[in-house]
Symmetry: C2
Amino acid sequence: MPAFSKEEYTERIQRTKESMAEKGIELLLISQPANMNYLTGYDGWSFYVHQCLLVSMKQEEPVWIGRGMDANGARITTYLSDENIIQYADDYVHSLVKHPMHFVADVIKEKSWDKETIGVEMDQFYFTHRSYVELEKSLPNAKFVDANTLVNWVRIIKSEAEIKFMRRAGQIAAKVMDTAIESIDVGVRECDAAAKIVAAQYAGTEEYAGDYPAIVPLMMTGEAIKTPHLTWTEHIYEADAPVLLELTGVYRRYHAPIARTIFLGKNPPSLMQETADVVLEGLNAAIEFVKPGVTAEEVEETWRKAIAHSTVVKEARLGYSIGLNYPPDWGEQTISLRPGDKTVLKPNMALHLIPGIWHEEVGFEVDASIRVTETDNESLYDYPIDLILKG
Amino acid sequence: MPAFSKEEYTERIQRTKESMAEKGIELLLISQPANMNYLTGYDGWSFYVHQCLLVSMKQEEPVWIGRGMDANGARITTYLSDENIIQYADDYVHSLVKHPMHFVADVIKEKSWDKETIGVEMDQFYFTHRSYVELEKSLPNAKFVDANTLVNWVRIIKSEAEIKFMRRAGQIAAKVMDTAIESIDVGVRECDAAAKIVAAQYAGTEEYAGDYPAIVPLMMTGEAIKTPHLTWTEHIYEADAPVLLELTGVYRRYHAPIARTIFLGKNPPSLMQETADVVLEGLNAAIEFVKPGVTAEEVEETWRKAIAHSTVVKEARLGYSIGLNYPPDWGEQTISLRPGDKTVLKPNMALHLIPGIWHEEVGFEVDASIRVTETDNESLYDYPIDLILKG
């Protein structure tokens, strides 16, 4: 049931421990669902309560700690031995008195790890301020340091097995975008198109089941094209409407995002066509440039220079690293394609380039989900990069 | 575009300020997406970056602070005046140097709110430990107090307009469960059934668009019936398999969860039928008991006593309060139906009773989503409460 071989998880834990050693961290407390999954395979929609993984330099296997009802989920989805699956009682959930981190601290004390340097993910959504406060109070002899994206950086170069998963996600992504283009039409309710799109995401291909995306289908039309993160309504699509789509294919939590813009007519407004032309020129230049040895900021610079002749300006970063993820974000929080990011690209890194433009008068989105190869890069899916006219 | 009238938001803010006054809080910093939506209507899948709402005793309207690209989303989905929609630049996103809370602190200083008692949501997933640390460093004259579920408790009694939305969610829930029972069958891939179920969630009814749920379809079968929070695979359903379903209908972020167990055959194992009989007896007794004036713990006690003659034991709470929500949880984090919760039930509270049982040999789930009325309670949907045999 775990997605990868036992050896692959062992190797990931090994690389995590190397990074811990470099940073002087003796015990790592992980609460990002993607990081918990990466190191053990643990899967399940249980991240709405406190849970974590302890990675100790003194023990081979990590320790999973979660809510009682989820312990069987850990047994099913990981190779962890039973003694490393530890459950807390239900009265720790949403209690004003008891906090799951008291329980976690007790486990740490029992294992005599309570005088160590403990790394925690200080700026991650599934580790709250109170989690920190309760841990610190309960473990007065520990030294806490920030290990915010430690495992995220371990994730950055994908294994061959992961790349295989991302390609499957890419196959699903192409089907999802086909479904979107087929379903979105004049007179159709936005919610009915959304239903068909998400059904394509979950169903996957004949061979591979789809998985739920870390971000639901974003599909802006009408006034909403001014902004990126809205979903759908009960309204019907009108003739000559632009529709901005940010979608993805997902296979076993690995993402291949795909974004396109549809215009429901034959003649897009000239400002939209001009914006599209410029963005496509810039995106293609950036894709052309991506190869091992160049830096993240150089990719963005290539894009910026390619569109410098135009009035198009993109204030937000051009893209970021992708892979395994859970809601609320499919971004890996490592590489950002923007000035200042000097990360050198290497084979089997995976990037999402998403030059979305949202102005008062016009919105346009298109993207590329790519893998860095030994020589340059390749797309995770086979899909034309263009403004799509339907009418 | 906001879901409710301007007056309704004004009234919600008023009640929030009353609660702030009681607790000596002068400025409230809210980052739970459901609370931001409740007080202003703000909607959008932007909660994967830092954002917040400031509610000041010195100002009528709250202040929305978010990422630049989401400011138009705030203009579209709220009644906030332009001066109260404040955006931060993109280089605050996932940066090692700049943090969005530095920007928030600057806004607070500009408004001279920096010597006040500031309430923050200390144990909420969208407010990280580092958010707290950076705020505290940037605002040395402020006093920080925990306002973790302050707005959640303001949300607990629903308005008539909210109840209308929850009933619409209930109509969708019934369609979703119908779709599940229709789609799940021997020889069907789990992912194909999941696709149809989620399509029903998004499409809604002819009149009302569905919305994305705070929890994706949970659908356990095979070995996975031992545990509650798993999703689907590419496997096909086999004859005589039990399928545990935890689903929901959603209308404009309001939830009406619905859970049932299907057995794909005519003769369920006797242990499953016995468990179902006991659970249904207990659930019906609890539903019968719910009315204004009783306490949350008395509801759970009624359930426990009704099943005391059996061997069924439920360690987890029996249920919780529901309403408006975003991923990762549709629970409101206020009432828990369990010993010690002395909340007195009042009209227009809404509860999800979910006596799920997950053992080694058998799993069984069934539920009720109900509204407390003036005299007793009513279901949010019309659906038989039973073990469903299909074969």
